[in-house]
Symmetry: C2
Subunit: 585 residues, 2 copies
């Protein structure tokens, strides 16, 4: 391994092939050890060690530019570019983010964590280079799984028309997170089967020059090919056939499970079975499974991230043709779901809050303008310690301001099930449900609410002076604030579960004016454009004071949730303090 404090890239460039191969093995060990401790992307990183070494050997970063797609394959690059300590020193394992990050190194150009962006970004870098009259190589690195995303395809179409140097390395490990879906992947297979020689070639059809490397984990072959495309004067694809999880048997054999692992996965004994407890994920799976059995037109859809929803291979097989993974293609997923619903089928599109952002126009035009009765389940919505690239705090402003959409926020198992039933059975609206991301709460009492009566909030406990309206998981925060107000100040606050995020209950809000001075909204997400502001607007012309609690408009990065809460004044003590300050004015 590189000596401390040397220029690793220079050391690498002066190494023999034998030494590079040893280096690859050393890096592999480091990555396995580190990822097993911290959790992270195991398979994709293990498969891209040799290509990364060869890229740094042949090209001259940071003069030549490497742009990694989604950053699932950038660990070897991080080790080579001055961040080795994040892999050798367990105390520094968490120092560096799992994604490319310009603030960490001049070798990282962009902060990236969503897929399918690299080709477009690389095309922009190349265009800037050309306009400035500069001269360097621009290399995008994109996995086969990311190719199905609209932004990648738009990027390829434009990159090929650039007319100057751009090198797109396609890291084809025959997998997305799970298996690939879509016609494109047939062509990639044909190219692999013909050693890149198939006449009908997706990349060539888009106007690219094309190189194929069958042994995409062979440093010798890689160096030879990269040398032949270095300084090329036109757009070129270098298609590498690599092995996901390479060098870790269990990862090679369980490619999907080892795409991203939890800490300690390798230390688990085979006979260790985790205790299965009921949670919102298992509830959803059971519900969908029942619906598929009841109604053959039910269709469970996701866009390349089945693991987020616990849809493992067995579950997918169980759903059969009533399950569709469209690959990384959220835009398609929404339009596809909308059209199914219009024809009388029952689509349920499952999506992570951070990725719903990838399909705003389709929600607006394909879905809501056509008012198609789909069910959309939004997972992980809320403030969290996520990477800046994977924040889930924007879904309320994004979804709830689109006309015709109904966005529901359940607080208990029974509410969630009732909302699922309602959404699935109705034919009136596109309905999104913010799947709770906390511990399961069960009342044991069936929820018989008629959710077709839109925007009906529920007063859970009638009080006076202060009304607390807590959305979804923040309903429980409202509850603790209520207790705090009672215990510390003798204030008997009203507690309200709004359930609906797309509209307000004007009658209920109007009635609150009678014996309340202050309404407090609490939402688990960014305040700007969100739920609370709608309530504040309603009260703007009245004597009612309003306080909105939620997140600030900013990108946070791996900030512990308790720090976030402190920062946004979301602890029960801070909220209570702010409330009493108003009351005492």
């Amino acid at each position: 391994m590189f000596a401390e404090k040397t220029d690793s890239i220079l050391e690498l460039k002066n190494s023999s092939i034998t030494e590079l191969n040893s280096l690859a093995e050393e890096m592999r060990e480091l990555i396995i050890k580190k990822v097993n401790v911290t959790g992270g992307h195991m398979g994709p990183n293990l498969g891209f060690i040799e290509p990364t070494i060869a890229l740094h050997y042949v090209f001259n970063s940071p003069v030549d530019k490497f742009i990694f797609d989604v950053s699932h394959q950038c660990y070897a690059h991080k080790i080579i570019t001055g961040r080795k300590e994040g892999f050798t020193n367990p105390e520094l394992y968490e120092k560096y983010t799992g994604y490319t990050a310009p603030e960490e190194s001049e070798h990282d150009l962009f902060k990236v964590g969503h897929t399918s962006t690299s080709v477009s970004l690389a095309t922009g870098v190349a265009k800037a280079r050309d306009l400035k009259g500069e001269n360097y190589n621009v290399v995008a690195i994109i996995g086969d799984g990311s190719l199905s995303g609209g932004e990648a395809l738009e990027g390829l179409d434009n990159a090929s028309a650039l007319g100057s140097n751009i090198i797109i390395v396609v890291n084809d490990n025959k997998m997305s997170i799970a298996e690939n879906h879509g016609g494109l992947y047939g062509n990639l297979a044909e190219l692999r089967n013909t050693n890149g020689k198939a006449e009908c070639n997706f990349f060539k059809s888009l106007g690219f020059d094309y190189y194929y490397v069958e042994n995409g984990n062979n440093i010798d072959d890689l160096i030879e090919t990269f040398k032949s495309v270095k300084d090329i004067n036109h757009p070129v694809i270098v298609h590498l056939h690599t092995l996901k999880g390479k060098g870790l048997d269990v990862a090679e054999q369980n490619k999907e499970a080892f795409h991203w692992i939890m800490p300690g996965t390798l230390d688990k004994k085979d006979n260790e079975t985790s205790v299965i407890t009921e949670n919102y994920t298992s509830l959803t799976k059971d519900f969908l499974c029942d619906k598929v059995k009841e109604d053959r037109t039910t269709c469970v859809i996701n866009a390349g991230t089945p693991g987020v929803f616990g849809f493992d291979k067995n579950y997918r097989d169980l759903l059969g043709k009533n399950y569709v993974d469209v690959g990384i293609a959220e835009e398609h997923a929404v339009a596809f779901s909308s059209a199914m619903a219009k024809q009388g089928a029952k689509p349920v599109f499952c999506v992570m809050s951070s990725f719903i952002q990838r399909t705003y126009d389709q929600m607006s035009q394909d879905l809501c303008l056509n008012n198609s009765p789909i069910t959309m389940l939004v997972y992980w919505g809320g403030l969290s310690n996520a990477d800046a690239t994977h924040l889930c705090s924007f879904d309320i402003p994004l979804i709830s301001n689109i006309p015709n959409m109904v966005y529901l926020a359940p607080t208990t198992k029974e509410e969630y099930l009732a909302m699922l039933e309602y959404a699935h059975n109705q034919n009136e609206h596109p309905i999104a449900i913010r799947v709770p991301n906390g511990e399961l709460v069960s009342t044991g009492q069936k929820d018989t609410t008629d959710y077709s009566k839109l925007n009906k909030f529920e007063i859970k406990e009638q009080g006076e002076t202060v009304a607390l309206i807590g959305e979804g998981s923040f309903y429980y925060l409202a509850q603790t604030v209520k207790n705090e107000l009672k215990e510390k100040f003798g204030i008997n606050a009203t507690l309200i579960n709004p359930k609906f995020l797309t509209g307000i209950d004007e009658e209920l809000l109007e009635n609150l004016k009678q014996n309340h001075k202050l309404t407090v909204t609490l939402e688990d997400g960014m305040l700007d454009g969100g739920f609370g502001e709608k309530i504040t607007r309603f009260y703007g012309n009245s004597e009612m004071k309003v306080l909105n609690f939620g997140g600030k408009k900013e990108f946070t990065d791996r900030m512990p949730v308790n720090e976030l809460y402190e920062r946004y004044r979301l602890t029960k003590e801070q909220i209570t303090e702010d409330i009493t300050k108003i009351l005492n004015k």
Copy 2:
């Protein structure tokens, strides 16, 4: 032409080829006459008459489903499916929308006006059919220009994997709105040049069966090919080579200018030159042209709609390599611009408000998370009589709630120029400017505001009791309200131009509390999630009353602006009434 009150489709199916050809000519005359009176999509509709006749001849709509992309080619379909009167009777010319509309006919499946959606929608229809065990043909009709959009490409990748009947008719008239851009179009040309026989075939590479029709306006050939794919049991592309503007010489020769025309275009004499007056479009063009001359890294970018910005052929040639039309690919455009800016170039991305919706995640992740200093010019933002598919009232909520973004709203020529200069020269933020869409207003006084001091509102006229904050074009509405308040009620209101839509001027708002009881916000767009709510939230805990004026969260359809204003209480009389009601409480 079809007799009144007969079943046109049946009549068509019983016609000879000679009769069908006459029918095509009759329809062509109707379309030319009607579009010349009302304005509309001339070229694409003229080029798709014969294919539409052949489609209805061979398939059985509405049992078989036709899904038109962007609806720029649906006029012949409308004539055939019971809406002939909208083309024969000048009094009913405006009765039907220019887009497919399910409320008009059971032959229209979706309300569509944004591009690149048809393949995904058709795939959803086909999947619903399969799950329900039904049996009919699903036909998507998509122009070559729409193929470059991410949603179309995601759709193609998934459609080809459907495993059952789906027929995608590619209407290749060798044009987008303007010329096509991107590597894909080289392959379409190669396919046309080889009568569809080129080995390397974009569609086949995606897994489709493929048919080519060289004479895409020949009814005989079309019928033969459609018959051979009818009831096919797998996904197929039918690639038609058609002529945009067919049958109207001036449209055939000026394909771009006749894509969409203004009313009366055909009646203009050659020597009639329109008087060129300065407006915000011409100002922008002049500014960009100067910047390109001054700085070779300036790059003007748009996504397939140069006409919206007045970027005609001459202008584009003038900008040369400093102009990039990425085709219909808004996602790519934003990422591309962001990367250029990161490398020190000066991208200016021009986009229509309605289409900025197509790239939310790229604004969030590629652009704002990376805080790249691009300039984004948003055209046509505001309430309007647009079709439901082209509303421009959502851009403030969409753009202004993304962290790091700066969204500016100029009210005069001088402010606009100062903001353009600032945006172009700074290196701190992604900056969007809401290009004014009204009459040009000039003060004659250079604006020397330092816009790098973010969120500084300007008090234009200091008054008391009521503060009027008018955004962009609604600044003038605020001005008329001020006058009304003065004249009718002797109230001397304060008039404020906020200029910034992404944040609030807390100091100024705080100061207003001293001698104002009511703050009124006016924004030219939807209220939900917008600018006014941020101000209301600020005042929530205070004695200040707030009224927010703007649009309601809904899709309106071709509603005259004065009706919209009445509906939303946006006339100066209504606003004044609401204000005085609060004051008199």
